[in-house]
Each structure stands twice: as structure tokens, then as C-alpha cells.
Symmetry: C2
């Protein structure tokens, strides 16, 4: 698997954990070796895995937490770290712009920073969401 594919896989795992409200899977996504940080829309900046995971616990346990579809991922590989930018679609065509920063840890890429904030997105500019894309030939 290329670095780019492995990074997109890690980014997809982040959004899958979000959508499935799977706190265990969300914990797996984040780096345990680096100092992590997270900016939810409209929140202050959270530092440290404990704070970040506590915030996700609150979000994922909230039955009113929005489902998220992810569009238009772009990867910029910077050696052993990488930036993924993408558009998050909440219900009702509300859009967020997101920055996700990953680092290589062994054979995996782990999230060290996430920021999402309100964005003015033209729905016409969006590709299909990650979970509705063709997977290539089955055989």
C-alpha cells in the first residue's frame, strides 16, 4: 500500500469511528507517542490524549451527535507526517472544512491533530462521499 493510500485509510478510519460512534475505534486512530490536539467547531483547542478522548466520548455518546460524510480528501505527504484536508458534510448540507495531521508510527499512520470549522462549500464541488464510492473490481 502506498503512503498516500495508507494515510487515506487512516483518515477513513477516523470518520468511520465518528459515524459508528465507536469510541474504541476512535482511540485507535490517535497517536499515543506524540502530543495530540483537537479543535472541534467552535470549541477551544484541546491538548493531550486524555482531554481529546474525553471530548470524543462526549460527542460519540450523544445521540444527537451528527453523522458525518467526508468528501474531497487531499493528501500532502511530508516525509513521516502528512496533512489531509477534506470537507465534512453534516445533515442538512452543513459543511465543515477539516485539517487532519497524521504521523507514521511503525506500519500505521496515526492522527496527531484535527481541526474542523464551518466552511462555505458549493455542493457542486463535492465528489461522492467516501462511503459511497465504487471500490473497484470485486473479482
Amino acid at each position: 500500500m502506498s503512503d498516500r493510500d495508507a494515510i487515506l485509510f487512516a483518515n477513513g478510519a477516523f470518520y468511520l469511528a465518528f459515524t459508528n460512534r465507536d469510541l474504541e475505534a476512535m482511540a485507535e486512530v490517535w497517536s499515543v507517542h506524540k502530543s495530540v490536539s483537537c479543535v472541534h467547531p467552535g470549541w477551544s483547542i484541546l491538548y493531550g490524549l486524555d482531554h481529546v478522548m474525553r471530548s470524543w466520548q462526549g460527542i460519540l455518546r450523544n445521540p444527537n451527535a451528527p453523522k458525518v460524510k467526508v468528501h474531497n480528501e487531499r493528501v500532502e505527504v511530508l516525509g513521516d507526517s502528512a496533512i489531509v484536508t477534506c470537507v465534512e458534510e453534516l445533515k442538512g448540507q452543513q459543511f465543515l472544512a477539516a485539517t487532519n495531521i497524521f504521523v507514521r508510527e511503525g506500519s500505521a499512520w496515526r492522527l496527531v491533530h484535527h481541526q474542523a470549522g464551518p466552511a462555505n462549500v458549493d455542493p457542486q464541488s463535492l465528489g461522492p462521499p467516501e462511503d459511497e464510492r465504487p471500490r473497484g473490481p470485486v473479482n
Copy 2:
């Protein structure tokens, strides 16, 4: 100069260019070797140096563009790249949370990605802004 100091210097140069509305200095801040991207608050994601610099041209030439004070910078060095998170203060105690990603290019650190978005910040949590901090002993 340590990596951390050099990264904070580059981050300071970014905000100085912003505050001084100095488009030439702003152009100096950004990487010319990597694909850059930028998310202004409420905008869509901009890709490529041309698009990004055109956006800064619009912002810096606008006499109503806000002055920005920067607080609480934190640096996470990831080898030859680095994340700076900080709080941007606009007039009237409006606050933004910002993510700035730098890469090492020769002896300098250059910006490859910037995102800022509205944040709920307790003013009590803020240290003095960068331009009002003591500079250490003069002699």
C-alpha cells in the same frame, strides 16, 4: 536557534505580515516547494500558492481587515515538519483557533497549511500576545 524557536519565529513572521498588511512578507512565509492550502474562517479550502496568495491579497488590501494578536502558541515538532496551534484575537475579543503547519526548507521553516475558525476561548486562559511579551534582558 533551536527548531522550536525557528518555528515560532516563522509563525511570528506570518502574523506580522498579516498585521502589517505586508503582502511581500506574506509571500515569503509560504512554501514554494510543497502544495500549500489555506482555510480562512468560513471559506472553502484553497489549494495552491496562487489561490492562497490571491486570497491574502484580498484580505491584506482590505482596509477593514482585522488586526490579529496571537496568543498561546504551542509547537509540536514532527521531524522536518511541525504543527503550531494558537489563538488569534481579533478586535472586540473575538477569538479564532488556528492550525499552522510548517516544513523545514533549508535553514528556514515555511508554512504549508493554515486553518483558522471561530473558537470559544476564555480570555483568562490567554497569555500576553506575541508582540507584547518581554524580549528578555536588553543587555
